[in-house]
């Protein structure tokens, strides 16, 4: 169960923050369901924020309109994955068509955390990532990208289903979803020291810690937009 959250949405030197994030929670007959998503728009100043914003919008609609249908028969990873893939495929097609019609690069990476009761699913496409913070810090999904750029994303090129991983939520643990802006100049140890769930008991503390991380990344020369969602679980 997710207890509280903190969010960081810090714009770089560009005119607009090309990252978008969404956080939703609902109480259902299947238990508490939470979705958190961090998307990093690609395509320079042209339409990065449009792609990430549109994907976040579609994921939010999917969460309320389609996910409940997948949960009605009980928790099923494959049913949820199929439903999400359908939505991502549709959105990928729309963004791709939009970009091609306007000669623009209109794509976005995506990292999505979904919890149902005490179980969680992670979906990832691109170089945003999720860390699990408990006794130590552990990156939970395969990051897909290097210095030359991302290999796959939503909205550009062919559609690739997202990587998926799953697990159980333990007491006094936390998850950190982050765009690559936070990760390029900081090490895992920096993040663990700042965001350890043992140190953070309230939302304000998490918010302060996230802002501290952003300041540290900026002081080390980070120019990219920085976005992160911290979810404290009980």
């Amino acid at each position: 169960m997710v207890l509280f959250y903190a969010a960081l949405h810090d714009r770089g030197p560009g005119e607009k923050n090309q990252d978008s994030m969404a956080l939703h929670r609902m109480e259902t007959r299947a238990g508490e369901v939470t979705m958190a998503a961090v998307c990093d728009g690609l395509g320079g100043e042209q339409c990065g924020e449009l792609a990430s914003g549109y994907l976040v919008e579609r994921l939010s609609i999917w969460f309320y309109d389609e996910l409940p249908e997948s949960l009605k028969g009980g928790f099923s990873k494959s049913r949820i994955r199929r439903s999400l893939q359908r939505e991502l495929f549709r959105t990928h097609g729309q963004l791709r068509e939009y970009g091609l019609d306007r000669m623009l690069r209109c794509g976005t990476t995506m990292t999505l955390f979904l919890s149902v009761g005490n179980r969680y699913l992670l979906f990832s496409c691109g170089d945003s990532t999720v860390f699990s913070l408990r006794r130590g810090i552990k990156e939970l999904i395969l990051r897909d990208g290097d210095e030359r750029g991302v290999k796959r994303c939503i909205g550009i090129g062919s559609f690739f289903p997202p990587h998926m991983s799953s697990g159980r939520i333990h007491g006094d643990s936390a998850f950190l979803l982050s765009s690559d802006g936070l990760l390029k100049k900081l090490k895992e140890g920096d993040i663990q020291r700042a965001m350890s769930p043992g140190l953070i008991k309230r939302r304000e503390e998490a918010q302060r810690a996230l802002s501290g991380l952003a300041r540290a990344a900026r002081s080390r020369g980070e120019k990219d937009d920085i976005s992160a969602l911290y979810l404290k679980c009980c």
Binding site: A7, L23, E49, Y54, E57, S60, L95, Y98, G149
Partner: protein, 369 residues
């Protein structure tokens, strides 16, 4: 709003502009002070050419507003054209927007929600009962003000339209609150306003704001337990996709609101509740009697009956439980938060380059950083 010049005049006519109160699709609203009377007014300015859309719309808004002489609608004080802009001067309503009011309080109790609905509906009734009928077309909490005295006022007639021609199909409304046919650009009637009122009613009771994802109102089944069946039915009717199934105007909706008894179930609901309990207890008592008879050596009760009894009980329990909890899968929503700099819903439709050659997408990918 492309028409707004960078430098706004400090004075307009006899009014000194003090601060910007808001910005709409066609103009900006300022708090202004009359230089001689020393009274505050709200001044709406539309910029552009004299016959441009923005200034025409403002004149149309004045036409609609002057039809009413009711304290629940701000009075029109003045209207004039200047070089480069048109000004509409109206009563300044001090208070809190209903949107802000609700954000702090939802979900409301049913009694409070019905009370607020009656007051909103009463104002819209004025529009729907005028001749020709005026359609508001953008009912949402941010267009209502709760004054310091606790009165409700309707603001911004920018989208209001006379229903006399019936074929003005300009797109208007707010996603989440506007009726489906309105968003598709179809003809809007008074029942479109009723749909929007239904959205507000649903928001008040469930706490799910239709202007946030998934951008449609929560169904009646999401109302909290204890909400009367009458309110649930009314929400379902107002939110019907088929305009003919909705109350046809605000007067009809008001009639139905008056019949609601918040928190009190009608007789049929109470009867079904009673039957549910009675059936369950009858089954349990029957099972106990059978068990007692069996253990007292009653020959008529065979062991097979007893073995199937738990199964029968389980089925009956599941049936009755499903019957009772056939409500929405979603019980309550929270944390509906989005951080994004994208404006508007969906993808923009302009700037399309038709017949453009397709770029090599893999090249595009590899050049992305």
């Amino acid at each position: 709003m492309e028409n707004i010049p960078e430098i706004i005049p400090e004075n307009t006519g006899r009014y000194r502009l003090i601060k910007k109160l808001g910005e709409g699709g066609m103009g900006c609203v300022y708090l202004a002070e009359h230089e001689e009377l020393k009274r505050y007014f709200a001044v709406k300015l539309a910029f552009g050419e004299s016959e441009g859309i923005a200034r025409k719309c403002l004149r149309r808004e004045a036409e609609r507003m002057k039809c009413f002489d009711d304290r629940r609608i701000p009075y029109l004080a003045d209207m004039y054209d200047c070089e480069g802009y048109t000004a509409l001067v109206m009563e300044y309503v001090k208070g809190l927007s209903l949107k802000e009011y609700l954000e702090e309080r939802v979900p409301l109790s049913e009694a409070e929600a019905v009370g607020l609905m009656k007051r909103m509906c009463g104002i819209i009734e004025l529009l729907h009962e005028s001749r020709p009928v005026i359609l508001y077309r953008d009912i949402k909490p941010s267009n209502f003000m709760v004054t310091e005295e606790g009165e409700l006022r309707l603001l911004d007639f920018g989208t209001a339209l006379r229903d006399e021609t019936g074929d003005e199909r300009e797109l208007s409304g707010t996603p989440g609150y506007a009726a489906p046919e309105q968003l598709k650009g179809g003809r809007v009637r008074a029942d479109g306003d009723v749909y929007s009122l239904g959205c507000v009613f649903s928001y008040m009771l469930t706490g799910a704001d239709p202007s946030r994802p998934p951008y449609h109102p929560a169904a009646a089944s999401e109302c909290p337990e204890g909400t009367s069946a009458g309110s649930r039915r009314l929400i379902s009717r107002c939110l019907s996709e088929d305009p003919d199934k909705r109350p046809q105007n605000a007067s009809e909706l008001m009639d139905e609101l008056r019949l609601l008894k918040p928190g009190r179930e009608p007789l049929s609901e109470r009867l079904s509740e009673f039957l549910y309990g009675a059936l369950l207890w009858a089954d349990i008592i029957m099972a106990l009697i059978l068990i007692c008879m069996r253990y007292n050596g009653h020959a008529a009760v065979k062991a097979e009956y007893l073995s199937v009894l738990p199964l029968g009980l389980a089925f009956l329990w599941m049936f009755l439980r499903d019957l009772k909890s056939s409500g929405s899968f979603i019980i309550r929503r929270s944390w509906n938060v989005i951080y994004s700099e994208k404006s508007g819903l969906g993808l923009p439709v302009e700037n399309k380059i038709s017949d453009a050659p397709l770029p090599e997408t893999q090249d595009m990918l590899s050049s992305l950083s």
